[in-house]
Amino acid sequence: MIRFDNVSKVYPKQTRPALREVSLEVERGEFVFLVGSSGSGKSTFLRLVLREERASHGQVHVLGKDLARLSNWKVPQMRRQLGTVFQDFRLLPNKTVAENVAFAQEVIGKSRGEIRKSVPQVLDLVGLGGKEDRMPGELSGGEQQRVAIARAFVNRPKLLIADEPTGNLDPQTSVGIMKLLDRINRTGTTVVMATHDQNIVDQMRKRVIELEKGRLVRDQARGVYGYQH
């Protein structure tokens, strides 16, 4: 799914690299937590996977493709096989729940029939059946994040990237979101989730990758958040 070979990333006008010689591999169907304090390189890691940035050194393979060799016009094709969820939900406020989810299919040219079939299905899956016509502003944070997850999952991606999906949510709501991500993981979708949430990581007992100042300092199957906590 994801393979990093000796990857470093230095942003322009900065001397300290955001990632230093990171090598790791994520297999199909895995659930991986990416932990580390702010500025440790988590976001850079995810941006490299999404090919929002290119690696300065080393090779990044995602879904079997060398991203350095992927031409710009092929990037959209690659991203269609990826789902993304963010801390701030990134919903369109002037569209209903169903329209927000359908948006992800419309812009890649799915037929109206397909959209009409798959949107209610995925909304049921995330537990928002019956709220299709609500506006995002009328929903709670947890519900908004479910809409975002529905949108990320509606195209059945092979890989789901979640950047602190519970960062804006209270602990109880977070548990619900984690159950949902776990369910998605069980359908065979690989999930990579960056998080600060110690409780969640400790409860789930999944693989944990820890970054510190851009270096990979821990890669532990069935790990916990951190030794020092």
Binding site: W73, Q81, L92, P93, N94, V107, I108
Partner: protein
């Protein structure tokens, strides 16, 4: 709260866009109208130059029968064959002359028809009213006076005309106007392009949420950029249409009515509607394509895809 904030933000962006769109339309319309106007001015000049303008420097007009009655220079009657022979041999001897062409009355009639077409003045003329002439090309165009002193007042010669001298002042003026129009057009064009770039920047900013999501779910860059390019193209097309209307109305008021130059200057042959209509597709196409291209290049800078 959050949704409301974002909505008002988009509202502000759209309202700002509306005035900006208006500015784009006006500046595109003005620059294209000037562009079309300068093309038409060029047409007008070449229409006025007529058949001989670029070919000769001096014309020696000979008397014909009707001149014998009306023109004091021709009081001794129409030109005779002997007089013509004398003129030809004199011209041959003059060192400043490069070449001489004899234009018969019939040829003169034909050339006149070509230049003035079916204007009322032309249709009232007959070939025998036209003058025979010698069209002379000089080695040095400034030596016009040599020919004038040699032939002015001679029997059978009606007049000697410095062909270019008559029209050069007028053409100089028209040429100057043409350059001025082009210069103002260039400025307006730069203004229009900058406005388009700015409009694209504002709308890319106000729609960054949509475009960001589009990018994440894998919309092609074409799909993401299309609405912006369409916006610019539509504004430009409206500007192009306004420019076309300005050209048509301009010709109507300057030539036919209002200023009505065609009545005041009835010796000048003016460009017709067909010349104006022929420019409109070009004006429209530029109005449509130029802003779209500007938007496309602006997007490369302001919209990450």
């Amino acid at each position: 709260m959050r949704a409301q904030f974002v909505l008002s933000e988009i509202g502000v962006g759209l309202r700002r866009n509306l005035t900006m769109t208006f500015a784009v339309v006006v500046s595109v319309a003005l620059s294209l109208a000037l562009f079309g106007g300068s093309l038409l001015l060029r047409d007008q000049v070449s229409t006025m130059k007529g058949y001989w303008y670029d070919k000769v420097n001096v014309s020696v007009f000979l008397c014909n029968k009707s001149d014998a009655e009306s023109d004091p220079n021709c009081a001794k009657g129409a030109v005779t064959t002997e007089q013509k022979k004398q003129i030809e041999s004199d011209l041959d001897k003059m060192s400043v002359v490069e070449s001489v062409t004899h234009e018969s009355a019939d040829e003169a009639y034909k050339h006149y028809k070509e230049q003035f077409g079916d204007s009322p003045l032309a249709s009232s003329l007959t070939p025998d009213q036209m003058q025979e002439s010698y069209r002379i090309k000089l080695k040095d165009p400034e030596k016009y006076q040599v020919i004038a002193t040699a032939f002015d007042g001679r029997d059978g010669v009606q007049s000697v005309q410095d062909q270019k001298g008559i029209l050069d002042n007028l053409f100089g003026l028209l040429n100057g106007m043409n350059w001025a129009a082009l210069a103002v057009m260039a400025l307006m064009l730069i203004v229009a392009l900058m406005l388009i770039v700015n409009t694209v920047r504002v709308s890319a900013f106000s729609r960054r949420r949509e475009t960001g999501i589009m990018r994440l779910v894998g919309a092609s860059s074409f799909y993401i950029q299309m609405p912006f390019i369409m916006e610019a193209a539509v504004a430009g097309a409206i500007g192009g249409v306004v420019a076309c209307v300005m050209l048509l109305v301009g010709r109507y008021f300057i030539i036919d009515h209002g200023l009505a130059l065609s009545e005041k200057l009835n010796l000048i042959n003016f460009i017709g509607w067909d010349a104006v209509l022929a420019k409109l597709p070009l004006v429209l196409a530029i109005g449509l394509l130029m802003p779209a291209m500007a938007a496309f290049f602006a997007l490369r800078k302001y919209l990450k895809v």
